[in-house]
């Protein structure tokens, strides 16, 4: 008599990844949700408890569509307060890794490398807290096949550390958080009204 299921469910896949093993312990108390800064400051629809529930109930497509899968920055405020000691950010990351494997695109603007100026010094790869950056041999227009930094969009959380350490300003977060827009913001914020002109 064999009890091993032949096809792995979504929940089993998540549980097989590191950090996912305690998933089923969640009793839906909601502590993580009311602790979460992303829920409070960025995305009201963000809800780790609901995502864990979706994973448990094998709601794969819904989990891939949920912003919770993509926005977690692994600050682990919820981990410290979870009464069941579930490493929630790692469960979310496991779900995200599976989503990326299914070809889903992340909802956030991940770091981008300027292929023309990157010198592959490796500082960004060292600094990245999510291990999202690696140095890869790539064919770059006008430069031939050279080694440059490459960002894994499935892992990058757009924290911007890479951009801060890069000495050739070759890596950055596009749109809202480029170096230019941050400096612009700073000027607006520090100088008295009208002084800039």
């Amino acid at each position: 008599m064999s009890h091993t299921p032949t096809v792995k469910s979504f929940a089993d896949e998540v549980k097989a990844l590191p950090g996912g093993e305690h998933l089923e312990l969640c009793y839906s108390c909601g502590t993580c949700v009311s602790k979460c800064m992303i829920q409070q400051k960025i995305e009201p629809e963000y809800n780790p408890r609901r995502l864990l529930r979706m994973v448990m109930m094998n709601m794969q497509e819904e989990a891939f569509e949920d912003p919770t899968t993509w926005l977690c920055s692994a600050c682990d405020l919820c981990y410290a307060s979870c009464p069941q000691k579930i490493h929630i950010s790692r469960v979310i990351n496991a779900a995200k890794a599976i989503a990326v494997n299914h070809g889903k695109k992340t909802l956030i603007n991940t770091a981008m490398v300027n292929q023309q100026t990157c010198v592959a010094c490796g500082l960004c790869a060292e600094a990245c807290p999510y291990n999202a950056i690696s140095l890869v041999q790539t064919k770059v227009p006008y430069r031939g096949i050279i080694q440059i930094a490459q960002v894994d969009p499935g892992l990058c959380m757009a924290c911007g550390l890479c951009s801060a350490v890069c000495r050739s300003t070759s890596i950055g977060i596009p749109e809202k958080f480029t170096d230019e827009s941050i400096i612009e913001n700073l000027w607006d914020w520090m100088l008295p009204q009208g002084a800039r002109n």
């Binding site: 909601g30 502590t31 993580c32 009311s34 409070q40 809800n47 000691k85």
Partner: protein, 629 residues
Amino acid sequence: MVDAARQPLIDVRTFTEVEKVEGFVGNFKVTLREKAKHVLADRCNGCGDCARVCPVEVPNYFEMDLAPRKAAYIPMSQSVPLIYTIDLDTCIHCYKCVEACGPLEAIDFSQEDKLVEEDIGAIVVATGFGHFDPSVMSEYGYGRFPNVITSMEMERLNNSAGPTSGNLIRPSDHKNPRKLAFINCVGSRDKRYNPSCSNFCCMYSIKNAVLLKQMNPDVDITIYYIDIRTPSKGYEEFYDRAREMGIHFSQGRPSLITEDPETHNLYVHSEDVGLGQVTEKEYDMIMLNQAAIPQPDQNHMSSVLNVAQSPGGWFMEYHPKLRPMDSPTDGIFFAGACQGPKDIPSSVAQGSAAASRASRILHSEEWEIEPTVAVVWPERCSAITKGRACGLCVKACPYGAVRLEGDKAAEIITAKCHGCGGCVAECPEDAITQLHYTDAQILAQMRALLADKPEEKVLAFRCHWCSYGGADLAGTSHFEYTANERGLRVMCSARMDTDFIYEAYRLGAGAVLYSGCHPQDCHYITGQVIGAKRADRLKKIFDRMEMSEGRFRVEWISAAEGDKYARVLNEMQAVLDNMSPEELKEEIEKLKPDMEKRLKNFPGVPGVPEAIDYSNKLAKAITDQKEVS
């Protein structure tokens, strides 16, 4: 308590601690420390003049430190006997009380603690539970925010005999609160503090909410909970009543309490699970239902009484279902929350049951115990043969039943022995045997089980209480496992002697399973621990002998894990299947001389040669019969 003290056959000793418990069922010798009250019980009439003049004021423990008491005080209004006590830790020795007492002369500062020894037949332990201190959970602000209090503190504030005469006020401004919240599971169901459920807090918070609502229907009360658990008779109906009264129930564990520093009002941050939305609500006062935890001195009591503790620290019962009020030590019983958190009806039920169990002992001239006790052959003990006792039996006994004095051979106090067989298996001289589980009897069984094609067999040593039950469950649940399994039952994994395992391999067994209870389920307090240590030792020895992985396996299987038993046996069969017969035979033969060397003293054990002789004849008779047919 007052009622009990009036009964002529009940002797209530308050302010008294148990120092030492010796002896055994029906014959305990208990040493009690009667603490000095510094007041003579036969002279004090409880008038209270001493307390009135006492200038010292300290927090009153009984009032949850919400009110003061004097250094001369009565602990609580139902105290037995109702006389004053002088607390020397806070007394400033002004002796005003002596003056006030006057001609009664009831105060005696020279009084000291008294040690009294009593003959006791049976002991009922009812030491209750302690409270989790919520101040370690910084998110709830207990101790920082004046209006966050515990439910126990609220009980005192709401009690007509309490410090406010039953007027519920909030500590910050002494106003009556209008919006109140209870938070359940503070420190319980929380793996960071106490993983278990405290059992009664759901009903307790509902009761408190209903009481407050009855007194003042205008107050707004919310109970924050993870799950509401109302499993007993009438409890769900009570919960319904609370809902109908307008008490709000909010599913979701609060993650944070913040305070308005001006008004000292509080904000509870939680996700309302029903809504799926994070809410932040304002309250005047918040009551925390803190977890029930073992008494702070539970460990000390456990060593005084020699009763084991369950993983959470509560006293461990003999059997969770069949004997929940008995301790593993005969003659000691549990009542109430010292054995695990429980509410009043369950505590009363358990207390009555414990009392009737105890009275069985008190009304018996003789007491029957299990016959599987250990017996010493004094002439084999190293105390006699070598002049120095090794003492391993004393270390192995979970019950303190082995006595070793001077140069005399070890002696088993039969009334204390429960028959785990730990001492029997540990004794390096084979000087102890266990009735009904002698080495010879077990050896004869092993030889019978391994008489035919031993290399195909998986010999499974199972303990009586758990892994044997697991095997049984595997059978009754129709979990299929290998037909080559041969089970052998002993009382505890502590009895699984290294000699048996060596003998099994010497006889050519294919594989051997060493199984018993999980450590927290052991029916012999720490019997499994003794067995597990030995199993680890054996594992290392077999590794060094280069025995194939999986031919010796150690597994802890409970009576509920029939599936695990079947799985382990099938995995062991797979190990044998993966080896070719020649390979297996070669390994068995290679290891035999080593096993024989380790067993060289085994035939010297009384009864073993006869058992070998008998089983040889039996085996021969079986083969002869086979040849004939």
